[in-house]
Amino acid sequence: MIRFDKVTKIYPRAAAGVAALRDVSFRVGKGEFVFLTGPSGAGKSTILKLLYMEQRPTSGEVRISGYSSNQTRGKDVAKLRRRLGVVFQDFQLLEDRSAEANVAFALEVTGTPRSSIPGRVARALTQVGLASKSTALPRELSGGEQQRVAFARALVNDPFVLIADEPTGNLDERATRGIFQLLREINTSGTAVLMATHDLELVRSTEFRTLEMNHGEIVFDSADTPSVEVDVD
C-alpha cells in the first residue's frame, strides 16, 4: 500500500551534502499501525510530506495506493489527498468556524454533494467523541478537543491511511492517552495509521511496528526484529 524505494530527499536550500532522507526503503501494509520515531531533524516529517506529496524525492520513488511520486501531478495529487487523512501537532483549524464547519470544509472544497455533508460531518464528530460540541469554535475547546476536530476532518473522507505528525505534541498526558485511544479505534476500523512522535513512552507501551530514524536514515525497524521466544521451563 505504501512503498519507499531508495528515497533520498535533499531540500534545495539545505547545506551542501545534507540530506533530509538518505536511501530510505520500507513498506507499510494495509491497515497497519506504524510509529515513526527519532530526534528532531531525523526525517520523520519529510517522510510524511513525501506521502501526501507536498515534497518530492530527490531520487528514488514513493508509491502510495498506486500513485507514484515520479508520475503523479496536479489534479491527481488532489485526488490522492482526498483518500488520505492528515493531522498536525498544531491542529490547523480555521479559528472563525465552528467544529462542524471545520469538518464540513474538507467535504465542501472537494465537491461533495451538499445534501450528504451534514450526515457525514455528524458521523465523523461522533466517531471522535465530539458530537455534543459541534457548534463550538476552536477557542472554546481544549487542546485535546481541538485535535479531535482535526481528526474528524481527516476522517470525514474515509481515508485508507491516517498520517499524523506529532499529534500529541501539544497535549497533556491525559489528552495524549485519549488521542492515542482514538487512533487505536481508527486503526481497528481498518484505516492504516502512520504516526510521527517523540513520545517514546507511548511507543514502548504498545505492540505496534516502530521505524526509528536518525540523520535521515531508518536505524531500526521493529518488523525486522525476530520475536524472542522465552523458555519458561
Binding site: 496536479g74 488532489a78 474538507a106 472544497v109
Partner: protein, 282 residues
C-alpha cells in the same frame, strides 16, 4: 455557483479587509480617473481648436461661376476634404461688413476676391496633409493665393503631440501605480487566508477550485472599486467646475463602463497573480 458563494462568504467573513481593498482600489482608480478626465478635456479643447483649421483659396478676378462650381465639386471629392464653401465676391463683401462692422461704410464695391473655404476631415488636419492639399489646390490655374495659417497649424500640432506623449506617459504611470496598489491589496487578502488555502490543498481541493473564488472576489472588488472611483471622479469634477467656473466634459457611458471593466480586470489579474504565486509557494 459554489465559487461565487465562497467569494461572497469571504466578503462576509472579513468585511473590514474587503472594504479596505475596495477603497484602495477605488482611490487608485480615482487618481487614474482624474488624470483621464484632464486628458479628455484637453483632447476636447484641442479638437475644438483643430476644427477651425481651414484652407481659403482666393480666386483670380474674371473666373466664371461655372468654372468655380466645377472646381468646387472636384475639390469636394478629395478624400481629405470634409466641406467646400464657395464664397462669391458679393458674399465676401457681405461677410467683411459683418465681421468688420466699424468699416462697413468703406466697403462700397466688390473689391474682395471670390474664394473657396475648405474644411478638412478629422485626421487630415496635420501640417503635412494640409500642405499636400494646398499644393494640389495651387495647380488650378485660376488660383490667386492660398491661405491656411501654416505657422498656426504647426504650433497646434506640436502642442497636440506634446500633450499626446505626456498624456500617454502619465497615463501609463498612473495605470502602473493602480496595478501595483491593487495587486498589493489583493495579495494582502490572499495572505490573510494562507491557512485556509493550505488546509484546502491538504484535504484535496484542486488548484482551480482554490483559485476560482479568489478570482471572483477580486473581480467583484474591482467592479465595486471602479464604481466608487467613478462616483468620486464625478463629484471631484463638479467641485472643480464650481471653483474654476468652467464647464468640463465627463466620461461618456462607454468610457465609464471601460473604467469599471478596467477595475474588474485589475482585480481579476491581481488575484490571479497573487493566488498563483501563493499556490506555487505553499
Amino acid at each position: 455557483m459554489l465559487a461565487f458563494n465562497t467569494a461572497i462568504t469571504a466578503f462576509r467573513r472579513a468585511p473590514l479587509l474587503s472594504l479596505l481593498s475596495i477603497t484602495t482600489i477605488a482611490f487608485s482608480l480615482f487618481a487614474f480617473g482624474l488624470f483621464g478626465l484632464v486628458a479628455l478635456n484637453i483632447k476636447n479643447a484641442l479638437q475644438r481648436v483643430e476644427e477651425r483649421v481651414e484652407i481659403r483659396v482666393f480666386v483670380a478676378d474674371g473666373t466664371t461661376s461655372e468654372r468655380l462650381a466645377i472646381a468646387s465639386d472636384d475639390v469636394a471629392k478629395y478624400p481629405e476634404v470634409l466641406k467646400v464653401d464657395v464664397i462669391t465676391q458679393a458674399q465676401a463683401l457681405e461677410r467683411a461688413r459683418v465681421e468688420l462692422g466699424e468699416f462697413k461704410d468703406v466697403f462700397d464695391s466688390q473689391f474682395l476676391p471670390a474664394s473657396f473655404d475648405i474644411r478638412l476631415r478629422p485626421g487630415s488636419r496635420d501640417p503635412a496633409t494640409v500642405r499636400r492639399v494646398v499644393d494640389r489646390l495651387r495647380e488650378f490655374d485660376f488660383v490667386d493665393d492660398v491661405r491656411f495659417g501654416e505657422e498656426w497649424i504647426a504650433q497646434l500640432y506640436r502642442l497636440r503631440n506634446i500633450a499626446g506623449v505626456a498624456g500617454a506617459a502619465l497615463g501609463l504611470a498612473f495605470a502602473a501605480v493602480a496595478v501595483i496598489i491593487i495587486g498589493a491589496t489583493i495579495r494582502m487578502a490572499v495572505l490573510a487566508r494562507t491557512k485556509e488555502i493550505s488546509i484546502m490543498r491538504l484535504v484535496g481541493a484542486t488548484d482551480g477550485f482554490i483559485r476560482r473564488p479568489f478570482l471572483i472576489e477580486g473581480s467583484i472588488k474591482g467592479v465595486l472599486g471602479g464604481v466608487l472611483a467613478l462616483v468620486l471622479t464625478y463629484f471631484a469634477m463638479r467641485v472643480l467646475e464650481q471653483y474654476l467656473h468652467f464647464e468640463t466634459a465627463f466620461f461618456d457611458r462607454r468610457l465609464a463602463l471601460l473604467g469599471i471593466l478596467f477595475g474588474a480586470l485589475m482585480g481579476f489579474l491581481g488575484s490571479a497573480v497573487s493566488v498563483g504565486r501563493h499556490l506555487r509557494r505553499v
